[in-house]
């Protein structure tokens, strides 16, 4: 299963090693890790709650991985997304992609992150000194997704 939604933390090194296995066709592994920052939109963030839509989440992530497979020449891909209570410096998401060459690995990894940001049903609620607030969707994320439709 190339996608996982979990409350537990993940060990990026171990996940990458498992994804690579002993496949000697792989020449490139591109990885992205998203982490919780202690500030957002200028406001200190003390913690956050990550909520998702069980049932849809895995399906949406699988669809994104399949779309990446169709667009890029990759061997394998892994997406892990955490939910629940998270604090600054905690890991949120891992995307790892293996390929023969680096171009496809980088492209597919970035593609998966860009599409995940606008399509996967996750929501962040931040706790700040002024109370808690749902995070607003970023215009930059919509722009990043658009990039892939105009490139196509």
């Amino acid at each position: 299963m190339p996608v996982r939604v979990q409350t537990d933390d993940f060990d990026a090194g171990r996940e990458i090693a498992t994804l690579r296995g002993s496949d000697a066709r792989i020449g490139a592994v591109a990885t992205f890790i998203g982490t919780v920052r202690d500030i957002n939109d200028g406001t200190p963030v003390t913690s956050m709650a990550l909520e998702h839509y069980p049932g849809m989440t895995e399906k949406a992530l699988m669809a994104i991985v399949e779309e990446a497979r169709g667009r890029f020449s990759i061997m394998d891909a892994l997406v892990i997304h955490r939910v629940g209570a998270l604090r600054p410096t905690d890991q949120i998401v891992l995307v790892a992609v293996t390929s023969a060459h680096r171009g496809d690995a980088f492209d597919a990894c970035r593609f998966i992150m860009d599409i995940l940001k606008t399509r996967a049903p996750f929501w962040k609620k931040e706790v700040t000194p002024a109370g808690s607030r749902w995070v607003d969707a970023r215009v930059a994320d919509v722009d990043a997704e658009q990039r892939w439709s105009t490139d196509a």
């Binding site: 998203g34 990550l50 909520e51 998702h52 839509y53 049932g55 849809m56 399906k59 949406a60 997304h81 949120i92 998401v93 992150m113 995940l116 940001k117 606008t118 399509r119 996967a120 049903p121 996750f122 929501w123 962040k124 609620k125 749902w134 995070v135 607003d136 969707a137 970023r138 994320d141």
Partner: protein, 96 residues
């Protein structure tokens, strides 16, 4: 057996799911909704909810960035609904 063209529309019962900010705004995470319209679709559900007025009309007003998922896949307004379907209302996502 009555002619289907003149029969009363059947009742279509769907499951509504509200996520994140919408769950808090509506004060509930889910509910069952009985639609008594012929050929019910996503647009019909939104019309019923908007007709409740107040926060419902406000949050689901045209132009608000609410996405609808039908049985866990994003759906358009004209997607037809069947008994037992799960229809979720999703505010803009902010994962990753």
């Amino acid at each position: 057996m009555p002619d289907s063209r003149t029969a009363m529309p059947a009742v279509t019962t769907i499951r509504l799911v509200y996520l994140a900010r919408l769950r808090e705004a509506f004060g509930r995470s889910d509910e069952d909704l009985a639609l008594m319209v012929p050929a019910p679709n996503v647009a019909a559900v939104l019309a019923v909810l908007r007709a409740r007025g107040g926060i419902w009309a406000e949050e689901l007003a045209a132009g608000r960035a609410v996405r609808v998922a039908l049985n866990h896949t994003v759906a358009q307004a004209d997607a037809p609904l069947r008994n037992g379907d799960e229809v979720a209302l999703l505010p803009p996502v902010t994962g990753g």
